[in-house]
């Protein structure tokens, strides 16, 4: 089968809150000095899903696509090191700070340029803007069925069999190809590259596609970011007194009882 995986480059979400700064313009995050971007953790789950499908379906191809402006080629080549046949970087200043709808429109144009595919995999959200929309918007733009929050994906008898996380359990769903699937964290962690993979990633260069390579594609923002700011948390914590931790624990119980919380 022919597999496309969307991988997003984001600022490292694990930085300490104290290092998180917003530009005075109030619309941009200032990248912390010395902290490199990472592949979005949800995208990593999607990539793992794609690699497992490739493992179990002989003769499959896997193409990874990333979208942005000033992408980090070396970071994203991890997809090749892990077994992607092709890495396509949609890299253009026009692709900076797109909203979900515009990102989906650009990705749809790239998918059409690729042409042949059976399944498109994306993370269920990305850990920067957390919108959780791009994969499903792309399905809508391409007129394809979509399945969200997959924890297991199999391809048998020409059909996809997907386990989706739903509230209180999971759902087993069968779908025809082509389809778009968004992948949940429960699918499992991304594997580590082996030496052979690392060497092949050294040799193989990604394809770079610019806006002009994609024909006419609308990149208008429909959602306008008015302001980005940090939530104010009031530091009004009342410390529970006590000479020892045991005494503090006892006093806490008394306090909670006084307040009728327990």
């Amino acid at each position: 089968m022919d597999i496309i995986v969307l991988i997003k480059q984001i600022p490292d979400p694990e930085i300490p809150p104290a290092s998180f700064k917003i530009d005075p313009s109030g619309t941009k995050v200032v990248p912390p000095a010395g902290v490199s971007p990472v592949i979005d953790p949800y995208s990593e789950h999607a990539l793992e899903a794609g690699l497992r499908l490739k493992d179990t379906n002989t003769g499959s191809t896997l193409k990874a696509i990333s979208l942005g402006s000033g992408l980090n080629k070396e970071l994203l080549k991890k997809a090749i090191a892990l077994g992607a046949d092709e890495l396509i970087l949609l890299d253009d200043p026009a692709f900076a700070e797109l909203d979900s709808a515009a990102a989906a429109a650009v990705l749809a144009a790239a998918v059409k340029k690729i042409g042949k595919f059976d399944v498109i995999l994306a993370g269920r959200a990305a850990a920067d803007w957390d919108a959780g929309q791009t994969g499903l918007l792309l399905a809508g733009d391409l007129g394809l069925p979509s399945l969200s929050r997959a924890r297991k994906i199999e391809f048998t008898g020409g059909k996809l069999r997907v386990e989706r996380i739903v509230s209180g359990g999971f759902e087993v769903v069968e779908a025809a190809v082509p389809a778009v699937i968004t992948v949940s964290g429960e699918l499992g962690k991304l594997r580590l590259p082996n030496i052979k993979g690392v060497l092949s990633a050294k040799k193989k260069e990604p394809l770079f596609w610019k806006a002009t390579d994609l024909g006419t594609v609308a990149v208008n923002r429909r959602v306008k970011l008015v302001r980005l700011y940090q939530p104010v948390r009031e530091a009004k914590c009342e410390l529970i007194p006590g000479a020892t931790p045991e005494e503090q624990g006892t006093n806490l119980a008394v306090k909670l009882r006084e307040l009728k919380l327990i």
Partner: protein, 323 residues
């Protein structure tokens, strides 16, 4: 329609009852428009009974569509058909499994845009401004949507349930049952039994973090939670380490909670965790690091070793409750 202020609220029905998150959507709608401009679609099992219940919250018209097995694509078709007739300026959904799927589906179909996981709505002049947490709760973002219908999903428990008005009745209109689309077939639904009450609905939650040092600590927290009639959860690191099941993860990337009392033990307080517990009425932090971020959000704090604090707390609670 230049003065279009109408809002369509999509309500999930489960066995004749509207979902609690859906009732909160009426409060969100009233923040931006008047009662006369609100209509609602009730969809799911026992939609008609749920519609009667929902009519007390203020919609002028309530449309109902029965859907035995709610699949998001079938619901999307019903919403799309109805919205094409009603021409709402805004469609409000709850940020649940269904709403999360519907928001982008509707946005794509109407060539418009959605803002998901919204925690505040306000009107400035003629603009409606939607606020949501981004960057794992490190920041808040205010958005406007330039196209219509504006599709907005609201994070559960950020708005209070709308007040009921027993004298208010809505016109109830039945729509044809929602049918799933071709191409996708649900073969099976498997319920995974969660032990005890759901963490999202618990009145008292005890959360454990990296500071517990291992899975053993959770047994102590369970003892405390059982004593208080509460539920145990965890921040992200213990779930990543396999100390606690992922289904009990609290935070933006896990479960959003809003209990009366939240006791955070050995949790340093990452933004994504704090954002997920911001609805807690009283937050108590137990952490030996006095500089931990969690104390910025806590109403009460104990700076000490949880291994000594928690047993003393448990003993005193037992004594006070006469057990």
């Amino acid at each position: 329609m230049p003065d279009n202020k109408s809002v369509l609220i999509v309500v999930e029905a489960n066995g004749g009852t509207p979902s609690p998150a859906a009732v909160e959507l009426f409060t969100a709608a009233k923040a931006i428009t008047s009662d006369e401009s609100i209509s609602s679609l009730v969809i799911g099992t026992g939609a008609r009974d749920a519609a009667v219940a929902i009519s007390r919250f203020g919609a002028v018209k309530v449309f109902t569509a029965e859907a035995g097995q709610v699949s998001s694509d079938a619901v999307a078709v019903t919403v799309i058909t109805l919205a094409a007739d009603l021409n709402p300026k805004t469609i409000l959904l709850a940020e649940t499994d269904l709403g999360r799927d519907l928001a982008p589906m509707l946005a794509a179909r109407f060539s418009t845009a959605a803002v998901t996981d919204v925690i505040a709505i306000r009107t400035e002049g003629s603009a409606r401004i939607f606020t949501r947490p981004v960057y794992g709760g490190n920041a808040l973002a205010d958005f406007t949507i330039d196209t219509e219908p504006q599709v907005v999903s609201i994070r559960p428990k950020t708005f209070a349930p709308a007040p009921e008005n027993d004298n208010h009745t809505s016109e109830i209109v039945e729509l044809p049952a929602a049918k799933p689309l071709a191409g996708i077939r649900i073969l099976e639904r498997v319920a995974v039994k969660e032990t005890g009450p759901k963490i999202e609905e618990a009145k008292i939650v005890v959360g454990g973090g990296r500071g517990l040092g291992g899975p053993e600590g959770f047994a102590r927290l369970q003892e405390l939670a059982d004593l208080l009639g509460g539920v145990v959860g965890a921040s992200r690191p213990p779930c990543d380490q396999g100390w606690w099941p992922e289904s009990g993860q609290i935070g933006v990337t896990g479960k959003i909670i809003a209990p009366d009392l939240y006791i955070a033990v050995g949790i340093s307080g990452s933004s994504q965790h704090l954002s997920g517990v911001s609805g807690s009425k009283t937050l108590v932090a137990i952490n030996k690091d006095a500089e931990a971020n969690i104390f910025k959000a806590a109403a009460f704090g104990v700076t000490g070793d949880w291994k000594k604090v928690v047993p003393a707390l448990v003993a005193k609670v037992k004594e006070l409750s006469g057990r």
